[in-house]
């Protein structure tokens, strides 16, 4: 499976550098290495979810309990979580660091991913969620640190889109 181990490790190391102590996740192809890294790390609490919106509640609990957390999900999982993002995270000023695998963009071979790809950024903009695309390995750590800093300072959700050229080795 040509999901990039090297770039997954870059992302994981950047999360660790941000003092992330809990990661919630729902498996998806591009996230397999990241989830395994969290599972193998005795310092990390990995919460495997049944559905992504649960992760909003878990991250809210983590924040109020005094710990930094991150959410790993596919863009369809982000779309699934919208009510929690609005009526918990935004309503209660909860920072969320959302790492969203961006399926359905140019290069997507799976027909079932294509609709979600088309609406992900419009929905992020409609929700007024700041976001950046993670594409270049050299910038990943810096972008993750910036996103985490803004989430904590603004007490709001911030999204990072894990793009094909970063996650998938052609």
């Amino acid at each position: 499976m040509p999901v990039s181990v090297k770039n997954s490790q870059l992302i994981y190391d950047a999360l660790k550098a941000c003092d992330i102590r809990l990661v919630s996740a729902l498996p998806e192809t591009w996230l397999v290495h990241l989830i395994r890294m969290a599972d193998d790390d005795p310092e990390m609490i990995l919460v495997r979810l049944a559905k992504e919106e649960e992760g909003v509640g878990i991250s809210a609990g983590a924040h109020l309990a005094g710990a930094k957390s991150a959410m790993l999900m596919q863009n369809h999982g982000f779309l699934q979580s919208v009510n929690g993002i609005v009526s918990l995270a935004r309503l209660y000023r909860i920072p969320l660091l959302m790492l969203i695998s961006y399926r359905g963009e140019l290069g997507e071979p799976d027909p079932w991913q294509t609709e979600g790809g088309g609406v992900t950024e419009p929905v992020l903009r409609a929700l007024d969620i700041p976001y950046e695309r993670l594409e270049e390995p050299a910038r990943v750590a810096h972008q993750i640190k910036k996103a985490q800093t803004l989430a904590e300072a603004s007490l709001k959700p911030v999204a990072l889109l894990l793009c094909r050229d970063l996650m998938w080795e052609a």
Partner: protein, 191 residues
């Protein structure tokens, strides 16, 4: 059993816990008995109170966490039972006040009115201790037992579909949120 009577019966224990409630009658009735800095009222996001309680309990194992949930709320997030059952934090007691209806929006019956069994679903999801109780005495005994058990418990309390005339209180949501966070921080610092 009335929910307010059940809450009153265990209030002395709740005061010593970290409590996350759902919106509506549960929030208003607990506040009517007396707000405490360790009480957080999730006034929207139906279904996520249980997930919040799970997040707090996993990160703060030294705290006793209680979620005061409802049938309408947990039915919106049944997957949360499987996530709780997977991680089984021993410092989490999950109470579900089951009035078999969506009381705050007009009393429409939920699926528990036609036989869906939340305690049964929790047990099947892997929650190690579950019970369904119908009287205040049973509830008090089961709640105290759950606190002593040191094991994840889902306790379903069958209550009447009655609540206070208003769900509004004079505690703003964000004041509650920041006070609760500060309280958890002070507990860690030993203040």
């Amino acid at each position: 059993m009335l929910r307010i009577d059940a809450l009153r019966a265990v209030y002395p224990s709740l005061e010593r816990c970290i409590v996350v409630t759902i919106m509506g009658a549960v929030s208003a009735e607990l506040q009517s008995l007396g707000h405490r800095p360790g009480f957080f009222y999730l006034l929207h996001s139906m279904g996520l109170a249980s997930s919040m309680g799970l997040g707090i309990s996993l990160l703060r194992p030294e705290l006793q966490v209680v979620v005061l949930d409802g049938d309408g709320s947990i039915l919106m997030n049944l997957g949360a039972l499987t996530t709780m059952g997977r991680y089984r934090p021993c410092n989490l007691v999950h109470v579900v006040f089951d009035n078999e209806s969506l009381l705050s929006v007009g009393g429409f019956p939920t699926a528990t009115a036609t036989g869906s069994d939340i305690a049964g679903m929790a047990a099947s999801a892997g929650v190690p201790r579950t019970a369904t109780v119908r009287t205040v005495d049973e509830f008090t005994a089961a709640f105290d037992g759950a606190l002593r058990a040191n094991e994840l418990t889902t306790l379903v309390a069958k209550v009447e579909a009655k609540g206070p005339p208003s769900f509004l209180t004079d505690l703003p949501m964000l004041e509650n949120r920041f006070q609760f966070q500060r309280h958890l921080r002070n507990l860690r610092a030993g203040r």
